[in-house]
């Protein structure tokens, strides 16, 4: 039912700078869409504009059938009338209310009957395991419990869109893993559209059905998580998504081959005329292979650092002037200062032109 459409939405707080610029996006109904980007990229501002807490400077926002904001006609629908719920980063629980009061405040304001309120409170409390905490004040709760109260407070209103602003950033690592699973389950159970803001690319990859990657207020890429990972639209997308960070090496692009130092890689199809010759090649840690013996298409390097993670070994290897991070799960680990040979194993090459745009 409600696709959320952002059409050329811009927002500036001062005259000189744009927080969000010309953002166009169609968030499909029932999706788990993540607004991802570094801090200050405009993701929270975008979320707040969808919520109606912030008015865009120009553009149009449509939720389902109704235009909730339009710079042209001046239409504006109040936040409370947009049928959405927002969980704040700080949770924004009211400290002078008990847990139960926090959860039921919205129903009470909307003059829902006492019986109905209690019924829904019981349901939501048991769903989120808050039964035993209802009489507490929020300062007496742990971080994870506060988070669940914040979610319960929004869910009890049964919104069709759920907005989450970095909800996990205040939790410790273990709890964060647990809550990720819980949020995914929540998404399945409620069927609501979720718009999720985070700067944590791993969180975005693991949880979303769609990712909108933003930088400096501009949309960089909008697609499925794996799509971004495998076919980043530009250098920024390649760099921001994926851990450890992608390796970039300077390379030279010819008509039908790519050369890096002594290595020349043939291209499956010819590159466009107007690109190159200088490009950069993006190589993820798992797209590089290591071996002790030299073979064709391999370059020599020296191991700088060994970083075991348990399942895998990561190596930093110096090749010519570059330092590459390489994943390797062979049986015999390498050691510091070992001489190794590096091989490119990628299925599809990620090549970026001078301006950082991906080259097909």
């Amino acid at each position: 039912m409600p696709d959320i459409v952002l059409d050329k939405v811009s927002k500036s707080f001062t005259k000189q700078t744009h927080a969000v610029e010309d953002l166009s996006l169609v968030i499909p109904d029932g999706s788990f869409t993540t607004l991802l980007g570094p801090s200050g990229c405009g993701k929270t501002t975008t979320l707040r504009m969808i919520a109606g807490l912030e008015q865009p400077t120009s553009g149009e926002i449509i939720i389902g059938d109704s235009v909730v904001f339009s710079g042209k006609t001046g239409a504006f629908v109040a936040p409370a009338k947009r049928d959405l719920g927002l969980v704040f980063q700080s949770y924004a629980l009211w400290p002078h209310f008990t847990v139960a009061e926090n959860i039921t405040f919205g129903l009470e304001i909307n003059s829902v009957g006492k019986k109905e309120i209690n019924k829904r409170l019981d349901e939501i409390a048991s769903a989120l395991r808050l039964d035993s905490l209802l009489e507490r004040y929020t300062s007496e709760l742990s971080g994870g419990q506060q988070q669940r109260v914040a979610i319960a407070r929004v869910l009890i209103m049964e919104p069709s869109v759920l907005l989450l602003d970095e909800p996990l950033s205040n939790l410790d690592a273990t709890l964060r893993m647990e809550m990720r699973a819980e949020l995914k389950r929540l998404h399945r159970e409620t069927g609501a559209t979720i718009i999720y803001v985070t700067h944590d690319q791993l969180e975005a990859l693991t949880m979303s059905s769609h990712i909108a990657l933003l930088e400096s207020g501009e949309l960089q890429q909008f697609s499925a998580p794996l799509e971004i990972y495998e076919r980043p639209a530009n250098r920024f997308a390649a760099d921001f998504v994926g851990s450890p960070r992608i390796n970039f090496i300077d390379a030279t692009l010819d008509q039908d081959s790519l050369s890096w130092g002594d290595v020349t890689i043939p291209l499956p199809k010819s590159a466009k005329e107007n690109v190159g010759p200088r490009v950069s090649l993006g190589l993820r840690a798992e797209e590089l292979g290591l071996s002790r013996t030299c073979g064709p298409g391999m370059v020599e390097g020296r191991v700088l650092t060994v970083l075991p993670t348990g399942a895998d070994w990561f190596y930093q290897v110096r090749v010519a002037d570059e330092v590459l991070t390489i994943r390797h799960n062979g049986e015999t680990p390498f050691d510091y200062e070992d001489i190794v040979y590096v091989e490119i194993r990628s299925k599809s090459l990620k090549i970026f032109d001078d301006a950082g745009k991906a080259v097909q």
Binding site: T44, A51, L53, A78, P79, A80, K81, L84, G85, L86, F88, Q89, S90, A92, W94, P95, H96, F105, G106, I109, N110, Y137, S139, E140, R153, M157
Partner: protein, 598 residues
Amino acid sequence: MSLALNRWRFYVTPERVLSVCFIVLLAYLVVVPLFMMIQETFIVHPLERFQIPGSKVNDFTLAHWYRFFISESAYTFFYRPLVNTLIISFGLSFLALLIGGALAWLVVRTDMPLKETISNWAVVPYILPSWTLALAWISLFKNDRIGGEKGIVSALTGFEPPDWFAYGLFPITITLALHYFPFAFLLIGGALRNIDAQLEESASLVGAGRLAIIRRITIPLIVPSIMAAFLLSFARGLGTFGTPAFLGGPVREFVLSTSLYGNLIGQRPGLGYLAALVMIVIGMLVLYMDHRMVGARKSFVTVAGKGARLGLIELGRWRWALAGFILFFLFSVIVVPLVALAIDTVMMIPGVYSWENLTLHYWIGEASYSIGLGTGEAGILKNPQILSALKNTFSLAFVVAVVTCLMGILVGYAIVKRRGTLISKCLDQISFLPYLIPSIALGATLLAMFAVPRGPIPSLHGSFLLLVIVCSISALPYAVKAGISAMRQVGGELEEAALMAGAGWWTRMRKIIVPIQKSTYFAGMLLPFISVTRELSLVILLVTPTTQLATTISLLFTDRGWYPYTNGIVFILTVVVVGCTVLSRRVMGTSLAKGLGG
């Protein structure tokens, strides 16, 4: 080195030693005097021998308690002043909350123009001596009840203000509220500013309207600060002496503080101390009520939300009108009174407002029994008595500022370092105690303690030291509060890092703790300096002719009806105090709000 010595060294840390020293010192200067004063209400004083037949000095007696609470004169001594005090204190606190709260809300939450100017001006009434407004009120609205001359209003319009308007409870409540509303403005403004905007946004998201948000979310969130502001104005109003003395005296309306003064200065010290005791009890009761109402569970600190821009409420076309009205209000409670005071100092014959009557006689004239009021006193700037009082005032203010600042640093340090321990809690409580004691009553306890030699300690009555002690104690709670929050900001790790680097305690204090907190301390010194400069209630019982202060000497002149002198002295104090505030703002960027804490 022996094991025992090693142990001893580990145990005797600077903060432990400091804590113990301060607890002993403060117990001696705050708690013991309280008990001494209670004891004084049960014994016969030299002057009371003849009122209590057959008694000797220092005999045990219940006569004071009987006279004060039960006898026929109890109404005059106690009940009437008590009722007056309660009416005034409650009235002024409500009024101050109303004015200060509304101002704070307008400044913080709306798009009213000229906010900065308004915020700066709104604290000035508190910087002025509390009885400036009382004097100005008299200058403006004086009627013929207190002698021939007319007030400015009556002289200009011919309208004679009625007694209830010119003197007594009504003007006392109004002028005190106008003096104390900056408390509410600062405290409520701070709380409003700190509210996480998301708390209100999340209410608006579920459909709460603007009024519902204010009523259900905003106000409950700032209740602790509202209560704190109420408590502060109530306690200060309770212990204030100047205003009720000036405005209540002419119609013989007494409050507890003036009754206390009258009894102590007169021949009934027992009754005076009882009045002081009652004031302290009232102060504590109000605090207890505050505790009960706010409660521990709901006592939360409002933490600022990240990046939460507060949406300003648009006032539309009212914004300039409102700003204008507020500026006019501030102008009338700051500039108008000062001008009124100034005018009265340059009128040869008081009450005659004409150009021929202009004179600088009261500023630079020679002593004369025939010119003007014929006081036989030289003009303010030539009068040795007044000049020496001014000198006393400023030396006292300076010494107290330094002493309280040092105590604030050290006590704050000791409390934070030993946080959670019994000794830290004890020190925290005891340094907060003076906050609860109305200032004139605090003076009374120290009078009870030090008026006579006790053991090895000689009588301190009439000494500069006693004034330093009483002013320092009274400023201590603020200083300690500032010290604690400064220490918390620094955090233990910065000091521990220096400790690991091998710095001794003295070096750590000198090189790490103090430099980092410099500006906080400076703000911490400004507040005591200002309050001592304009302090009257606290010292009125303790000054003697040799230690006369500017404020107390102006009271003397008022008693004789020599208003030009009083007004001139108050004018000088005002200029100095406002000057200091502005200067420190310019130079150090400190503001009074910082010193008050919150």
